[in-house]
């Protein structure tokens, strides 16, 4: 038997490849950009879902009962939307930031998640609102005054351009409201396990199918990302020669095709596996809610903040 294998063993496999590795030449080009990009996306996603685990145990928000936290933060978001108290908004932003730091969310991430989008999207859209053409009012700063400026024969610009106190105030409100809401949502997402969050969303009335799709998409993205990375590596490990340009182009098509095939095969299997475990698109709510001291304290803080939001001479938006 042993003799048989010996005979069948291909001759060329016994040849030794004794070539030394060449010295490598420095190149600035790196051709694994696709992999690098995928890795980055993968890491960003993974950081989101895993942030819960890496956070220190002292974090307050991680310990608050998820339902309480969900309602509490929702109330705070509402208070931010309704309040007319600028000081409160600034304070709320500071409190949110404080909680973020305490929950182990890094400054840079908080900035990226909250302030960058706020400034980019909201800032740009509300910025025109600060001038007197859009928001009339008391001038804070005069850009020009008493100049007649005509464009063509039909359009004439107003004679004054000033930045108004009311305009600036309105812009600040919009920006700080958005930042506070985004910050609170970030806190919620970053301190609650995804699986729990989706179940709470179902409980609070979001249709189960939407949540199920959300949940599955999230899982699939991970799985396929890792699968795609492995696939790229699997192929790379077998690339033992230079490829022609045409082969490379063909490869892109091939990769997409193979990957879709793989993805389909896998999703079929996942689906079958889930069905065999009794999954039918429904979620079961989280059972036994136990409120502890920390939850009560959290609730009190929320109520206190709301009281402040409503208090003073700048009360709720409705009070006028």
């Amino acid at each position: 038997m042993q003799q048989m294998t010996q005979e069948k063993f291909p001759q060329w496999l016994q040849v030794k490849n004794e070539l030394l590795l060449p010295e490598y030449k420095r190149t600035w080009l790196s051709n694994d950009y696709l992999e690098k990009m995928l890795n980055k996306i993968n890491n960003a996603l993974a950081t989101d879902s895993d942030s819960f685990n890496t956070v220190c145990n002292r974090a307050i928000l991680q310990q608050v009962e998820p339902h309480t936290k969900f309602i509490g933060l929702l109330v705070l978001i509402l208070s931010a939307a309704l309040t007319k108290n600028m000081l409160y908004l600034v304070g709320l932003n500071l409190v949110t930031f404080g909680f973020a730091l305490q929950s182990g969310i890094r400054c840079s991430i908080f900035f990226l998640r909250v302030w960058l989008p706020t400034i980019m999207f909201v800032g740009i859209t509300v910025l025109p609102g600060i001038i007197n053409w859009v928001t009339p009012g008391e001038a804070m700063c005069i850009v020009y005054s008493g100049i007649n400026c005509n464009i063509g024969s039909t359009i004439s610009l107003p004679t004054d351009l000033t930045i108004t106190r009311q305009g600036v105030q309105a812009a600040f409100f919009v920006i700080f409201r958005s930042a506070a809401s985004l910050g609170l949502v970030t806190l919620l997402i970053k301190t609650t396990r995804w699986s729990i969050l989706t179940k709470i969303l179902v409980k609070f009335g979001l249709p189960a199918t939407i949540v199920a799709v959300l949940d599955l998409t999230y899982r699939y993205i991970f799985l396929f990302m890792i699968l795609l990375l492995e696939y790229l590596m699997g192929r790379k490990s077998r690339l033992v020669g230079a490829e022609s340009q045409s082969a490379k182009i063909a490869w892109i098509g091939e990769t997409i095709a193979s990957f879709f095939r793989l993805a389909r095969e896998y999703s079929q299997e996942i689906d079958q596996a889930m069905q065999s475990r009794g999954y039918n698109g429904e979620y079961y709510p989280v059972s036994n809610i136990k409120l502890r001291l920390i939850d009560t304290c959290f609730g009190l803080v929320v109520i206190l903040l709301c009281y402040y939001a409503a208090g003073g001479n700048n009360g709720w938006i409705f009070s006028i």
Binding site: Q6, K8, P10, L21, Y24, G234, R261, E265
Partner: protein
Amino acid sequence: MAGSLVYELENVSYSYQHSKPALEEIDLKIALAERVMLLGPNGCGKSTLQKILAGLIFADSGKVTAFDRKITSKAMSDKRFATALRQKIGFVFQNSDVQLFCTSVLDEIMFGPLTMGLSFSEAKKRAEDLIDYTGIGYLANCSPHHLSGGEKKKVAIAAVVATNPEVLIFDEPTNGLDPKSQRWMIDTINELNKQGKTIILATHYLEFVPELADRIIVLGENHRIIANDLPERILKNRNILLDANLIDPSYNK
């Protein structure tokens, strides 16, 4: 003697995500034609270490030397260097699906030899030899994707071996194989080793240790090497085996 060292790793660490290490401070030497077995619990980093050895991912810190050259992402972005290294190292993945991409088994096995620059007839000869050797002649014209798990594994091995690499890395090669195919796998690996190939193999199965390993490296749940010794000594050390989840506490010997 110095020339017979294939790998030298110094203080190598790697993590996929911040603050969640997959490998920590790995020091390791692997000699030519050695059979090294990686053992350890799930998630300890065996596959990750193998990918680093194959030059597919790169250490975050520390030094990886293979065949007297430093393996870095810079070095690997030089095509000539990368090609030479890939010819020397073959890697059989844990999941064969990700490694097969051609439309027929024959094409799959010929892919390596052809990209290496062999002529069509030479490549075909190699593929036929391997198909004979692995006994998968009846599959030669099938699409690799419609095969069973065990058949895919055989095709993947044939496809990797076809370029005649010096180092062969196997990630859990016996998983999902029936006993007869497992036996075939072990004999094949040992046969390849007899021809002077270096074998680096990850597994959970202790029963293969005596016939497949010259040396054992055990990775712990802390992603570090907790033992690096001869098989006889590791097999006798119950504490290490327990640590690495290779036996359960009720196991007695």
